[in-house]
Symmetry: C2
Subunit: 197 residues, 2 copies
């Protein structure tokens, strides 16, 4: 399986992290993002959205880091990481939506602005972060992992851009439960870091 | 199964639409959104995020319309609507992410501003819509349904706020393939509309 990858991308790191934790081998293909490689053929043909990561596995091509996590979990039948019964699967999917919306448009975009100079509305990213991080902290006050009583792809999807929030000027000091959860993820067997963590 | 519901909410309608198409009975509990019922107990206890829909089924409580679609599909083992093999499930999940991010923060929020006076950045919603709608139209140029060769919960998740885009001042005239797809959904057996459609 081939992952079109960027070391500094939290979305790519979600996939690398889960693959490392679950012991799934990946071939990493570095993408020259600064050079715009993702906006030109062949990558723009693989993903017309002009984004990475992209996963290629035989004739399967996937964009969207959440969908790639689901693919890897189902392909390896990693039922602990993504159950297929209704309730636990839906619990996990709730957090995939959170990763796709609240985390991306909050701390992830704040980091894009501060670290890479992407012209987005900083106040908007801070407002969104100030809403989601307290909700996350309160949620984690009562449990060790986001979705179930053990780590799932929900944790892999939400973790990177929350842990990288300080690179977008967002301090995690006010969120002790989030910081403890970050620590628990970093202690998982097979954990790998990325720059900034 | 109890759905805390608002007739005018596209997120609630996603759930009602899929339940109607798949023949899943739901008990609808209308929520007084204007009166802030979702921000007070007991609803804020069911969903600390202060949003609807909320699904209650015995001791299962779910926020997030995408997760609720997954729950209903898995609970009824509706494998046509949500396969559990790796590739087709991931294809569907790609569009759940799109519904959660690009569609919500584009056409859905544009409608919140125009129809309900919610103070969000209109230019930002239009910019996001102008990116996602052409991508969606191009995608649908080559296929009849978003994810697979038949309707799935991906279509149910993306359809409402795309079809309601004109209520946010976004014309669908430039997107003939999207309009044909909307027509196909509206012809599905069991289809139900909502106000504005």
């Amino acid at each position: 399986m081939k992952l079109y990858d960027l070391e500094l991308s939290g979305n790519c790191y979600k996939v690398r992290l889960f693959a490392a934790l679950a012991g799934i081998p990946l071939e990493r293909v570095p993408v020259d993002l600064l050079g715009g490689e993702h906006k030109r053929p062949p990558l723009i043909t693989l993903n017309p959205w002009g984004e990475i990561p992209i996963l290629e596995d035989g004739d399967v091509t996937l964009r969207d880091s959440q969908a790639i996590l689901v693919y890897l979990a189902r392909k390896t039948n990693a039922l602990d990481w993504l159950p297929i019964e209704a309730a636990p699967m839906a619990e996990v999917v709730q957090w995939l939506s959170t990763a796709a919306d609240e985390i991306r448009n909050g701390p992830a975009n704040a980091r894009l602005i501060d670290k890479f100079g992407v012209p987005l509305d900083k106040a908007d990213t801070l407002r969104r972060s100030a809403r989601i991080l307290p909700l996350l902290d309160a949620h984690l006050a009562e449990r060790r992992w986001l979705a179930l009583d053990h780590p799932t792809i929900a944790d892999c999807a939400v973790f990177p851009y929350v842990a990288l929030a300080p690179e977008g000027g967002i301090r995690l000091d006010p969120y002790p439960k989030i910081r403890q959860w970050i620590g628990r993820i970093q202690e998982l067997p097979g954990y790998i870091p990325m720059p900034g963590l």
